[in-house]
Amino acid sequence: MSELHFPWIECSILAPLLGAVWLQLRSNSERALRDTVVVCVVTLLLTIGELVDFTWVGAFEAHDHWPFLSWIFPPDVFVIDELSAFQLPLAALIFMVIVLSTLRTKAPRFSLELALISESLVLATFSCRASWALIALLIASTIPPLLELRRRQRCSRIYCLHMGLFAGLLIVGYGGLTLVDASSSAILIPGALLTAAGLLRSGIFPLHLWMTDLFDKATFGTAILQTTPLVGAYAVMRLVLPIAPSWALQSIAVLSLFTAVYAGAMALVQSDARRMFCFLLLSQSSLILVGLELVTPIGLTGALSLWLSVAMSLTGFGITLRCIEARISRFSLDEFHGLYPQMPMLAGFFLLTGLASIGFPATVGFVGMELLIEGAVEVYPFVGTMVVIATALCGIAVLLAYFRVFTGRENRTLISMRARPAERFAILLLTVLLLGGGLYPQPGISSRYHAAKELTRLRHDASIEDVPVEPTPHPHAAAAANIPD
């Protein structure tokens, strides 16, 4: 197996953990936010280094057996491949921009230590392959929000119920999987349990109530961090995709599709901004699952591209809502707020990220969405139509929210509500990525296609029945490539 040239993976996991310890030891709240930002930046750089190194290595998967870290982490636990190599910098970026856009006045409410621990767990999860370690990490990553809910003295019953079920399903499902023969039909039962766990973590209807509840009761930052890295989709990719037959995956795709349309419609009728955001996220993340479960290279490429786009754009969208909340407290979409004159930059960013999340032309999600629809139509035309409808509903919801927040009345204030330099930096960074990826999408799409192809091949190698392998090239493609029939 290929080796990285530096222990990027372990270092990136350790950095936020050590940061959390450092914050605990210093107990100096004045500088805590600054220190956390530094830790997040270092972690992001480490993950970018890992991505660059991985690209340089040029293999499908790679790990790092560095002797001085082997006493901490058992060898072969952390391996990255073409799927996770992009998710690690993305997750680190999400954490960095959330911390960066936290106002100093809000820092005491938003636990920086828990955020760093969460980051460490998410990075470890994305670096870990299917094993008990992955199960343990998936379960562990549900704990920081729970601690926050307890700390805020909010009811955690719904969260505990869902996450307890998630943990139970994972343990029983994976335990069952190790006990049954991979070629027997009995594998369907543990497979179903793991699928249910994945769907629950992804918030697929009707198992999505924990997400709306979390957005309602936790701090906005924590809720965004818990949901936007799309850990549920990763769990499905690692645990379900290799074992589930195609018909089962297509059933999940139908369920995800229903969720996408339902959540898109629900986003339209919400009056609470956070809930609207939550349903928007649910709708778009369900679309990713639709693509993942089509298991055709083109659908999978669309889903993987959309994964990056949705995570980035909805984090940006969430940041903007959070910045507005930080200034005017929680707000309703029932009334117009007319904030445009106070925060024109945030208004522009709100619109940009909102439109990027629905795959508007010239943003990073556009080609991903096209691919996803193309892949969906290949399997069943009705699916493609529903994907388009879900996106249309989300698009309407985004502009509705924009108009409600930024327009509709005059709102003059004596104090400045403009974006602070740190917020501005976070905004510009995400803008560059959203527009840059949209205007020059080929490298990203090629890499995602390669990953999709490898994942499809691996699934085929695992001898799953009726797996659609490399589809026959389209006659027009054959003609274009001068391939003789």
Binding site: T212, V269, R274, F336, P381, G408, H474, H476
Partner: protein
């Protein structure tokens, strides 16, 4: 590549690059919080329009001189996955249809830009207007020249977004914003049909190239390369997309609402360009329409109904801009009928003539009423309106019905709100309420104020969503 090809390529690139650059400069200036001065903004806009218009004229003259009727400008694949036959091809076509429409877009955008310079002088949203205007202009150029349906979709979406944002230009009032939202909703839903048509077309012919859809010949001589039933399927979807963009029946309800925006944007969008974009799409794909008799009948019916409805509505409006908007609808309806009848050149000439005249009328509209008042003050009486004598032949009941039909704007908004929006809102409100109940039951937490708020709706929200749907 010979000298002529190099000339075409350079000129074609300039035509497309100019509005894209304008948009980039204006967007970056606002993004980095460095707004440009009014003079700089206007000069950049003028330069950009000229840099598109002059090369387009040069291409036209060269084409006429050399007898070349079709100049494709290829920028290669923006995105491609060769093994999967997926490619997003950037191709622009200069032909007898696109060049006149492009020149019309450039001329009218230039005129309206110049008009706006004075009309919105020292307005707070001056830079914002020109940013949205740049998005619109860019969208129009891309849509006019699109050689593939994907490129058309990019331009189409840009036109839609800028329209909605410009209708809501007067931010401090609710009405423009609600109307902007309504237009966006209609656009999104009709654009969904266009996107589905694009995907369907891909599967039929393996590419999104319009040339692939037309078997032989270049516009207007092409014939469709698909079967009659395929033409009906794709054509119906495209017809929905076109009807939404051109405010054809039953989507006409948004047209008077769009007049809430500043007069220059009303003139350029709903009097001239945007409202003709649907007709332009039908014109571009007119061979497809001729491939299916059923589709042809649909186009003719839609055009006729829209024209009649527009005529009835425009006569009884009490607002000059709204009246002009419905008059536009009548003309667009007639243009669609011409397309349905296969009169392609006539339809193109009609688009150009009508767009120019209507732009002039709409730009004149704000001062027209003042001039009327002056005139009436001077003569000391009301000006006599010529009666429409034809109406006297109709029975009284029909006259009343026509008046009500026109005054209530064809009952289209009422019907859409009652039969589509209300059930939709009611259904998902119920779902939301149930979710709230289940959450409260599971959490057994006392109802916090925020939760109560989040599950409740006020009339404004429902009105907005009704408006939206």
């Amino acid at each position: 590549m010979n000298a002529l090809e190099i000339f075409f390529h350079v000129s074609g690139t300039a035509v497309v690059a100019s509005p894209v650059l304008l948009l980039a400069v204006m967007g970056l200036a606002l993004l980095f919080n460095r707004p440009l001065s009014e003079t700089t903004t206007v000069r950049l806009t003028q330069t950009s329009v000229l840099l598109s218009l002059l090369p387009a004229i040069a291409i036209l003259i060269t084409m006429l001189a050399t007898g070349i009727r079709n100049v494709p400008i290829e920028f290669g694949n923006w995105v491609t996955i060769p093994e999967q036959a997926f490619h997003f091809h950037l191709k622009f076509t200069f032909d007898r249809l696109s060049i006149p429409f492009l020149m019309l877009s450039c001329v009218l955008c230039g005129v309206v830009g110049e008009f706006t310079r004075r009309y919105l002088h020292r307005e707070q949203g001056f830079a914002r207007f020109f940013l949205f205007y740049a998005i619109f202009y860019c969208g129009m150029v891309l849509s006019s020249l699109a050689g593939t349906i994907e490129t058309l979709f990019v331009g189409w979406e840009m036109v839609g977004l800028s329209s909605a944002l410009l209708i809501a230009y007067f931010h401090e009032r609710e009405n423009p914003v609600r109307n902007g939202q309504r237009v966006w909703t209609i656009y999104r839903l009709s654009d969904a049909a266009l996107l589905i048509a694009s995907i369907t077309m891909h599967h039929m012919v393996g590419e999104g190239d319009f040339g692939g859809l037309m078997n032989s010949g270049i516009w207007p001589e092409g014939t469709a390369a698909v079967t009659s039933s395929q033409a009906l399927l794709v054509g119906s979807l495209l017809l929905i997309g076109a009807a939404g963009k051109s405010a054809l029946f039953p989507f006409s309800g948004w047209l008077p609402r769009a007049m809430e925006g500043p007069t220059p944007s009303s003139a350029i969008f709903y009097g001239a360009l945007s409202v003709h974009l649907g007709a332009y799409l039908l014109l571009r794909l007119s061979p497809l329409i001729e491939a299916s008799f059923a589709l042809q009948m649909m186009v003719l019916s839609l055009g006729t109904i829209s024209a009649i409805a527009g005529a009835l509505m425009s006569r009884v409006q009490n607002d000059v801009k709204t009246s002009l908007a419905f008059a536009s609808l009548t003309q667009v309806g007639i243009i669609v009928v011409e397309i349905g009848l296969g009169l392609r050149y006539l339809a193109l000439i009609h688009i150009m003539g009508h767009a120019t005249l209507r732009t002039m009328q709409l730009l004149r509209a704000p001062t027209l009423l003042r001039d009327y008042n002056d005139l009436e003050n001077k003569i000391g009486a009301r000006l006599q309106q010529p009666p429409w004598s034809g109406v006297r032949w109709l029975p009284q009941s029909i006259q009343h019905w026509c008046y009500r039909f026109g005054f209530d704007r064809g009952f289209m908004d009422i019907a859409l709100d009652r039969w589509i929006a209300a059930p939709f809102v009611s259904c998902f409100r119920t779902c939301n309420e149930w979710e709230g109940r289940i959450t409260r039951f599971l959490s057994r937490e006392p109802i916090a104020k925020t939760e109560t708020d989040s599950s409740g709706f006020d009339d404004n929200t429902s009105q907005d969503i009704s408006t939206a749907a």
